[in-house]
Symmetry: C2
Subunit: 394 residues, 2 copies
């Protein structure tokens, strides 16, 4: 296995080789995440690119920013998997490497999980589909199905609210990566491979169960009412400033509450609120009960100040808050969205001028210098990978 020849500086997953035939977000993101930790990832695409090769947003040169960012650090091989010869070549590539294959596309013939496990008993084949019942599903339809869209949005608004970020895909991607690494740990311990299947809709339903939303509905017989921008069960909401900006303020601990009272000098007024409601405001339950009154006082305080004055009042305290920012404001205002944050390097990609590009989102003492890596040009590694593979003796 290639593990033996890996450089230890390549990252914690140095030496692991993964082959993928994927599209859209979740599956490419999973393998991109593993590439960021040092795995060698070989992405297979049809000549000319797959379903997701030209998805918006595009760069001026016409490259998909979306495909670019989700395929960073991978090698790109073009192979026509609609033909059995292409699938056979892919199966050889998989099985003569580490035997790890990730796909969210129909995997037929030599690339079917059973065929790969037949060819190599310790293969790890990870397949992602939309729904365990075989129906088509993507992030948007799963979001509709799992209760989250109806719970989101302004209290007075009567329609569901979709996400602007494909959260379910991102969660599924990281879940897939976790499952793959668990299977790899088991294989190193026992020598056994397996087929791991996951469904996007299961990932969403699992999550709404994990955070208590589904069992709450089951036990009470009622879905939780829409909370608008309030935090359920604690104190928190968005507030507007004199300069027309907005910020989110959250209080989920006693320390954060005391810091807020000190920074805003609202301690005495809040004592009166507590007396009026007959509840102490020193825990989540009391603050949630009196939230409208608390928020009215905080809004009076915030509305009399511009954002800079709010920031001065909260800076260096334990107050948990953030201005709302769009992506342009992030780049302009937040040093965490710049190369002064070790998360980011600014690098170019094929057809894309230099842009902030994330490293693996970990600071690892064993790997202080994990680099951000560019996306490949489509097919750039075809000849090299296939000839390396020709030369492999097993």
């Amino acid at each position: 296995m290639s593990a033996a020849t890996a450089s230890p500086s390549a990252g914690p997953l140095g030496g692991l080789r993964i082959v993928e035939s994927t599209a859209f977000i979740a599956a490419p993101l999973a393998t991109m995440s593993l590439a960021g930790l040092g795995a060698e990832v070989i992405r297979l695409d049809p000549p000319g690119g797959g379903l997701d090769y030209t998805r918006w947003p595009l760069s001026e040169e016409g490259a998909s920013l979306y495909w670019t960012m989700l395929n960073r650090g991978k090698r790109s091989v073009t192979l026509d998997l609609r033909e059995e010869a292409g699938r056979e070549a892919a199966a050889r590539l998989i099985c003569e490497g580490d035997g790890i294959f990730v796909t969210n596309l129909p995997a037929r013939g030599a690339l079917a999980p059973e065929a790969l496990l037949e060819r190599r008993k310790d293969a790890i084949v990870v397949t992602l589909d939309g729904s365990p019942d075989g129906a088509t599903a993507i992030d948007y339809t799963v979001h509709a199905a799992c209760g989250a869209a109806i719970m989101a949005g302004p209290e007075a608004f009567d329609a569901p609210v979709n996400n602007a970020v494909p959260f379910w895909d991102v969660i599924a991607g990281r879940s897939l990566a976790m499952g793959l690494l668990a299977a790899e740990l088991e294989r190193r311990r026992t020598g056994r491979g397996q087929h791991i299947a996951l469904s996007l809709s299961d990932i969403a339903m699992e999550a709404v169960a994990n955070v208590g939303i589904l069992p709450e509905a089951e036990l009470t017989g009622q879905a939780r009412a829409r909370q608008g921008n309030w935090i359920y069960g604690s104190f928190g909401r968005d507030f507007s400033t004199a300069c027309g900006r907005r910020f989110m303020l959250a209080v989920v601990t006693g320390k954060q509450w005391r810091a807020l009272l000190e920074a805003t000098r609202l301690g005495a007024a809040m004592e009166r609120i507590g007396e009026a409601f007959g509840t102490a405001l020193d825990d989540d339950t009391g603050r949630y009960r009196a939230r409208h009154a608390i928020a009215a006082l905080v809004q009076d305080w915030a509305g009399a100040r511009d954002l800079a004055a709010v920031a001065r009042a909260f800076e260096g305290t334990a107050v948990c808050w953030s201005p709302y920012r769009d992506a342009r404001q992030m780049l302009d205002e937040d040093p965490r969205a710049s190369t002064s944050n070790p998360l980011f390097e600014r690098i170019a990609h094929p057809g894309v001028a230099p842009v902030l590009t994330p490293r693996a989102p970990f600071r690892m003492t064993g790997h202080p210098d994990l680099p951000a890596r560019p996306a490949p040009a489509l097919g750039a590694d075809t000849a090299a990978v296939l000839s390396e593979n020709e030369g492999t003796e097993k």
Copy 2:
């Protein structure tokens, strides 16, 4: 190490022992996910429970559904980590086990990452904080900071929209689990341990970069405008039915488009739309350009039918759609939110009547029977774990 004594049937991570001192969502979810794959997870809490022990929603008996669901399959030990004696006992427990510790709380004295790595060179210490600059941050404030809240919500609405599901915490939890397993694979290969730190705000900023939102703003100088419930760059939106329900419809492939035209018999009308806009509707770009006209025809079709008729028209086709459902409607209408889906078992937890409880969200041929497991009672395993540990000879 306990790995040697693990039963292989316990799951792919059987034999791995993780100790945690955590609160809220991301970190407990990470270790719960690993427990679901067979790891032994020992959760440390102060006597009486930590910051998150009573968070809403609550069961009738007063148990936190939130704490319950996020701590399933773990063992619970109460120890006072504010005292150095408690931290010393915890450090012994960690280092005499597998040397793996996960925390999102201040880790001082014997539990500081350097102290643990001093005591055991191959320890893996994973710490999660809010922000790499040391500021307090939680899911809500990170959501405000990363561009996502301003992009979400109805086009005509002028305020940011918070999430109803703590997506960033869920993503961070799965990311943490992925990073921990990567470090464990490296340790098995090289014998080296390390401290891995991650920040919730980095997880969010990485994600908006990964899906193209951040580079788009950097290259164009503009944040993407709010899209309401439209899919950016493809065709998709919510539609309402004659019976007052809503459904999400997405078209991200040619196959889905052709299936929609066939199911709705709108093919001829859509040809006229294409002619009117001077664009073919057979790709994402054309459909995005003509989206308002396409949607008006689809809404006429949907508005003339009740949801059951829409479902009959789409059933068994490649149309990608889903009704919007709240959590109660999920339980009533969707077989995937029931024990007929292998994802779920219905089991009781301490203080919580039987509820749908997820298994690990994977169908693994090597582990067809990974069980859903209950949460522990607080402190239930204190004596057993501490005495097992006393008896450990290393």
